[in-house]
Symmetry: D2
Subunit: 303 residues, 4 copies
């Protein structure tokens, strides 16, 4: 695969990301690549004269590669825009290391050199297809890369809900909320709520209750081809569905929320110099092993 | 202490609680006690002719004992009404066992027999005094028996806050919320969020972050005489303070939330037949020890 | 599939299991099945005259179905004996419900009626193949249905170890131990150590550190075709590898522990009346939803 | 208080600690302090000519201050030696920051300057008095600064035990072990096992089950004046009691383990430049707040 046409999606509010966009555009053009951006990014990054501009919804059409410059949030939003086009995404972080934007701007030229020379690996990341059915009609349908969260929009109330998987009743529970996550999302909100880390290659959907009332409710991982259905109990306060922490839908009594693996996965392009465990180890600071601390009397000690 | 005058606070929406109120009123009067209720409860329980009625705010004035008939929620709401009057509270649960309403209606006459004969123990439960200071003025001040929770009122956003104790900076964090609980509250919302169980006699304040972004943030118990101050970072969405899951206050940028032990504790009267560990064990189903399951080959096994 | 020849493995130390074995043998023979047991079980259950007897190692040879009567421990031990023979296993619990022995003796005739009439489903359960390599030689190799645990055999010491997956370094850590579990094992020891529940159909291996020194070490699920390698750091105390809590191997300095999916999975036969979520819900007591507890003042409450 | 006579306890196996001992001895003598060490440390640190030497058991007699140079393990072992003498302890860490050895060798002269000039605070740290009663006789009694742990010494077995507090039955459980910790110990092994952080000034004893079989068993904090009794169920494998991860006692069937606050607390001397929350924050890396990561489309995001 050669990457003749390359689109760039940039976090427009971030001067560092815009500067990286400008530098990268220049660097790519010298190598003969056509670069496409949105008009807004083109102006903000001063690259209008050197780029093709397109509306955001169409930016991925016909591109061989999409580069996202920003943080993981930018990358996740981009995934929603382009997921149906099967263009691979590569993430560049303008600041610190991200789970999805693993190339820092500092080394972006060296890393891209590798990638454009064909040294990369492509990973398929599962996305969720999330629908809300009301009175028999689908009133909302979107994709999510990280997670779908059902929660209550109000002061100090518990959500009460029923979960079924492939039409089998799983549990009824009360909790602050319920997170349904992809393996990619397992290191996002689900991790804060006590969920496990799932390798992105796993074909699994992760359910993590948030502050469950029943203390034996634990995170549960189910097969990726399962259909998760959530029904919320009637309440006098608003109940919400949120995708990737970015998009939402207000729920009504008797709504059915259906969550399953999207038929479209996201193609994520990785530099050969990074592996998933390196990123995990650095993001979660697993590296530090405190020195041993042996007491003077020769006994074994624990800390 | 003799309990000549007894007030009853009842969960009015609950027919079982009203029936228990009627029965108890009759039983107490036969024994020469004066019973006081609110007018609404008097009518709903058909005891107006046999009782003194008072507005709810004044119901505890001059009473030797207050009996709460309902669930833990009824008890907690009652605690806020009467805490300043130093009248002891006794809780009767019209259904299942509560942490605070530990006498079931089934055995209420037998248990009260003991109590009225002087066989009881009185326990002081710490309450929190919670204030919000805005522009140098205290704009909100209430007591809480269980907890004060700072959280965000909106879709999928994290609270960002700073905690100081006795003017010492403790941590800055991002999380779904922060629970500040009494030992009594340790078995309520704080437990769902991963907090420890604190014996009610402890003089301690418990801080439990809800879904903290920093994975090493853990529940922390600090001395009961400490002053906890929380400052929330500016956000474009509403941030809320909620007391006991029942009362709330909207927060604004630069508000300071101050939480400390109330000078008034709540006197809770217990039947001598109950101890705290019995209640814990039953509420949390600690009793069940599955049988040992030894494999046929004689090796030790784990499960 | 017709089940002409049926072997029974019984927890010999359990009188109830022996009685069930006797009853079941009689019942099966009346229906024309040939029943095989070990000599010891034959004598203990008084069925020698009606059965074929075989040494335990060979009991599954040529059987169409193996029935295990005991608890989950009995079932797990049986899995180790017969796993290579591809005979399906069905578990009968002589007492309480098990994760693997889901048919109680109370309903065993009705449930078997279904199964023998062809109404069953067969599930493949992943097993682990666990090897210890010392000086380049494999000195130990066994299968495990639940888990392989590396831990320290001594007083209050921490294990220090390095984990690699597919030759990629994952982390170095200090902990009480490390559990490597199948999805089946996720509800055993791994659950006590804070791991998630994994549906048995998932093709995944679960790593759960026990009391890790690094607080951000979390359970991690990796693809089922991965090869997990553990190296333990030299210590002056013994370090152990334990399979299913039943079999062990003493480790020495520089031993390499290799854990991967076994080429043989275990065929588990289920009654059509049970699904996995029902078993989970009952074993973990998810069923109980405490009544709502609304306070008298009309405010929303949390508990 | 003036500190005329100062004893030094050093981690003898650590060259950095010995070098710091030598430097500190010289520095203290120039200021007119008498320095006492053990003979072994005197020789190893080349300070025999400038110091008084004493056997380790007597080293604290008559000293105004004890300085511990090593890590937290050295400090804890020292606490057991000198606790009865009411000499305050000050900890110097020869490498990284410790919970108890909070002064690094880098700044030790500046920090000691403050301390010797009277700028310090003294904190009382609760210690546990731990006894084992066998056939009515106390066969073992020791103090612990961090924790007493009851666990099983063998391969993959669960401890089964009963806990009573002040003669009230609390629970019966199966687990890998049970940790009974002081507030000081709450940041040691108990933290790895999922316990909360307890401020050292709290008068509380913390019980943390290790990998409990019952998922609703949670850490529990009880009043510091309570007497915790643990009875272990008979097993065919050894059961152990370990104090501070350093001292142990083998348990036998029907042994009673009694744990209560020691009448002697440990006086810990702190530099005025350190507070407990600073140490926590640094040891647990609470400081890092990742930058906000706002997606380009203006929606709120969670991570």
């Amino acid at each position: 695969m050669t990457f003749d046409t390359i689109g760039i999606i940039t976090k427009r509010s971030d001067p560092k990301a815009l500067k990286a966009t400008e530098d990268l555009t220049t660097w790519l053009q010298r190598r003969g690549h056509t670069v496409t951006v949105t008009e807004e990014v083109g102006r903000a990054a001063n690259v209008t004269d050197r780029t093709v501009t397109r509306p955001q919804e169409e930016i991925a059409h016909g591109q061989d590669l999409m580069i996202v410059i920003g943080g993981d949030g930018t990358f996740i939003a981009a995934a929603r825009i382009i997921d149906a086009h099967s263009t691979p995404l590569l993430g560049i972080n303008r600041g610190r290391l991200g789970f999805l934007t693993e190339i820092p701007t500092d080394t972006m030229f060296a890393d891209l050199e590798d990638v454009l020379a064909g040294r990369y690996r492509i990973e398929d990341r599962m996305m969720l297809s999330v629908s809300v059915v009301r009175d028999g009609n689908v009133i909302y349908r979107r994709r999510a890369l990280n997670d779908a969260v059902v929660h209550i929009g109000a002061l100090a109330r518990m959500l009460e809900f029923v979960v079924a998987i492939d039409d089998q009743f799983v549990f009824r529970s009360r909790a602050d909320g319920l997170i349904v996550a992809t393996p990619t999302g397992s290191t996002a909100y689900a991790l804060s709520a006590g969920g496990p880390i799932m390798h992105p290659a796993l074909d699994a959907i992760l359910l993590v209750p948030v502050c469950p009332h029943t203390l034996t409710n634990r995170p549960i991982a189910v097969p990726g081809d399962g259909c998760v259905e959530i029904n919320v109990m009637p309440q006098d306060v608003s109940q919400l569905l949120t995708l990737d922490g970015q998009q939402g839908c207000s729920l009504q009594e008797e709504d059915r929320i259906l969550i399953r693996r999207s038929v479209h996965s996201l193609k994520v392009l990785h530099s050969p110099n990074k592996n998933h465990y390196d990123v995990l180890r650095r993001k979660l600071s697993w590296g530090e092993i405190p020195e041993n601390d042996i007491p003077p009397l020769g006994q074994p000690i624990r800390k």
